[in-house]
């Protein structure tokens, strides 16, 4: 369930999660088909990520879909740090997942590549939910926020999708998620009035440090009154699978530099990786609140301290000073009216 209820439910799970070092195998998986993105949102680390741009291997993805299903996974989202539609095989993966038996198959996309043909083939493949990430309410602020002047194109794609669903009595979900900054906060009502009629629901999220990799948003973009939540407990290492396009199991959906890689699935089974010593060690750190030195520490505490990757052979180590989008952000926000 990738809708508002889902978000509410997730919020509750946040706090009464069954904290186990070896939790049950997750029901939900994000499989990153590519880390390439055709947009470069102002608050997102994708554009500064120095991870090699690549596509997932077809055979690997197929193996993981089967392996995860056999272990109990029933929901799969085909994205993580990149735009799913840049992978031309997306429809194939949706089909495979459907055949295997997945009950909920979804993507989040910026929607710019979701033309009528692509939409139709995705729906025919059996997708259950398409979420548009639309992070502004006007053409001008969209261009600044997304780094691409494609507001009208995206809105057109959204409306066409909605019409197509209605006309053909199709049964998939359409959602919008919108990440707000201090410059776009006042466009909430525009999105609600103009775009939400073409969706089943709209979710607003406030711009954050993006799992510890975008500390610079605090100074320039976050909404001031947004107070930091204390005792932020993260459920992701306990209840969700995140698989990168290189074939690694990571603990987070926004691991732009592979700092939380717990296993190379090219050489290990999913089951062993989920129950492996590295993952167990990270979960212990979460439970015992001893995250110092990990990416999770920067995320949970909203700081930018020195951290080390869990696996330094696989990660793309970065220097906190270099890994900084501040200049780009300053350049762009000058254009907000």
């Amino acid at each position: 369930m990738e809708d508002k209820e889902y978000f509410e439910k997730r919020k509750i799970e946040y706090f009464d999660i069954q904290k186990k070092i070896t939790p049950d195998f997750p029901k939900n998986m994000l499989l990153e088909l590519s880390n390439i993105c055709n947009h470069s949102c102002i608050f997102c680390a994708n554009s500064k990520s120095t991870r090699k741009k690549s596509y997932i291997s077809f055979d690997f993805a197929k193996r993981i879909l089967e392996e995860a299903y056999d272990l109990g996974t029933r929901e799969v989202g085909f994205y993580s740090t990149g735009e799913p539609l840049v992978n031309k095989d997306l429809e194939e993966y949706v089909k495979i997942a459907k055949v295997i038996g997945y009950e909920y198959i979804y993507i989040t996309t910026n929607g710019a590549l979701l033309n009528e043909d692509r939409a139709k083939s995705l729906i025919d493949a059996g997708i259950d939910s398409i979420k548009f990430s639309i992070n502004a309410g006007t053409r001008e602020s969209y261009a600044i926020t997304h780094g691409k002047d494609e507001f009208e194109k995206v809105v057109g794609n959204l409306k066409n999708l909605f019409d197509y669903r209605r006309d053909n009595k199709k049964n998939f979900k359409i959602f919008i998620s919108c990440i707000l900054t201090r410059y776009t906060n006042n466009e909430k009502s525009l999105i609600l009035n103009e775009l939400s009629p073409y969706t089943d629901d709209v979710v607003f999220l406030n711009c954050k440090n993006q799992c510890g990799v975008m500390y610079e948003v605090n100074k320039y973009l976050t909404i001031e009154e947004d107070v930091k939540e204390e005792n932020n407990i993260c459920p992701l290492p306990f209840n969700k699978l995140h698989i990168t396009c290189e074939g690694y199991l990571t603990a987070c959906c926004a691991d732009f530099q592979n700092y939380l890689i717990v296993s190379d699935l090219n050489n290990e089974t999913l089951k062993n990786a989920w129950n492996g010593e590295v993952f167990k060690g990270l979960r212990r750190k979460h439970i015992e609140n001893k995250l110092e030195g990990t990416l999770c520490y920067n995320c949970v505490n909203n700081v930018n301290s020195d951290i080390k990757p869990l696996n330094d052979e696989i990660s793309i180590e970065y220097d906190a000073k270099m890994f900084d989008k501040t200049e780009e952000i300053i350049k762009r926000i000058k254009n907000f009216k």
Partner: protein, 350 residues
């Protein structure tokens, strides 16, 4: 060795581990972290045993913050601890998170988890949860028969506790679950006979019966001397210098202080605040080191250990002033005197 013998030897080992000085490296100011840790997840008790110092020195009591508990479970394990007990001054079953802590400790990798309870809250439903969570050893503290039960324990219900113990004995037989069951009895001069009867009643039923002779709790409960057996000399269980406890045991009070001894109810032997430092830092802190040095040199006058080891009641001082507690219950002695009178009356009636 059959299971009963195995269990028994494990229990014996546990009972005497404080006295174990077989390790040649033990008496070293840089002693390595112990194999066993006690964490007081709550210092509240639903009982108030006549010989127990808890109510004298603990004003209100409370629960240890769960975040601190899990952190300490992890830190102690990483330092080498493999045995854990979740109480020190309180009744562990009062904390409803006990099962969660047991489960977590088991997942982390502890091999032996043990507890002592007064048994009042130990109904079979709760105990099944405790056992399923991974408890290895349960000891019931049962210090008299029905007639003197409330006088000795200050509260509770003898028959209910016996029912709980018997339910668990039956469950153990039926379920074939492997856990150790024991009964411990603190013997006073007014409960000598009770002690013998209880021993007889349970010796075939449980794996282990432990008898402790009442002590004056390192000089903290002088009225306990009224309860002493005629043979009693008042000297602590560990009656020699150096005492191994500062070298082989770790205790964390409900407030989060690392203290040197389980007998310390006023935090006079607290050396570090674990809310502000790691367990490793606390175990090796200056206060701890210099105390171990004093113990090795026998220079313990003025500390709680002195009264314990020599059976004295002299004035003693805290190691760290700010951790120590000044509270002393004003009703404690009056209540104890009344109860001792009652015990005398019971004996006369007999």
């Amino acid at each position: 060795m059959n299971i009963k013998e195995k269990n028994k030897s494990q229990s014996e080992k546990c009972k005497t581990k404080y006295l174990d000085t077989s390790n040649n490296d033990l008496f070293n100011i840089n002693a390595k972290f112990p194999k066993c840790i006690n964490i007081d997840i709550c210092d509240i008790c639903n009982y108030d045993c006549v010989f127990c110092p808890s109510s004298k020195f603990i004003e209100k009591g409370g629960f240890m913050d769960g975040k601190l508990v899990v952190r300490l479970i992890g830190e102690a394990f990483d330092l080498g601890a493999r045995e854990i007990c979740f109480h020190l001054s309180g009744e562990p079953l009062i904390n409803e998170k006990l099962e969660d802590y047991i489960k977590y400790a088991k997942e982390v990798g502890y091999t032996y988890i043990f507890m002592t309870t007064n048994g009042f809250l130990a109904n079979i439903e709760r105990m099944k949860k405790i056992i399923d969570a991974g408890m290895n050893s349960i000891r019931f503290s049962l210090n008299s028969l029905e007639k003197k039960y409330k006088t000795i324990h200050g509260a509770g219900d003898f028959n209910k506790v016996i029912e709980n113990i018997n339910d668990l004995i039956n469950y153990k037989k039926e379920s074939n679950k492997e856990f150790i069951m024991g009964v411990s009895i603190v013997k006073t001069k007014y409960t000598n006979d009770d002690c013998e009867i209880l021993k007889e009643q349970f010796k075939e039923q449980v794996d282990d019966i432990t008898i402790f002779e009442v002590k004056d709790e390192a000089g903290q409960c002088e009225l306990n001397r009224e309860l002493y057996l005629d043979s009693e000399d008042g000297i602590g269980v560990v009656n020699k210098i150096p005492c191994p406890i500062p070298f082989n045991s770790a205790y964390v009070t409900r407030e989060g202080f690392l203290t040197i001894c389980c007998a310390d109810k006023k935090n006079y032997l607290a050396v570090a605040n674990l809310n502000e430092c790691t367990l490793e830092e606390a175990w090796n802190c200056d206060e701890m080191m210099s105390f171990r040095e004093k113990m090795l040199n026998g220079k313990i006058k003025g500390t709680l250990c002195y009264n314990c080891i020599y059976g004295k009641e002299e004035e003693v001082f805290p190691i760290v002033d700010k951790y120590s507690s000044n509270y002393i219950s004003c009703d404690y002695n009056k209540d104890r005197l009344e109860r001792i009178e009652q015990l005398k009356v019971f004996d006369k009636i007999k």
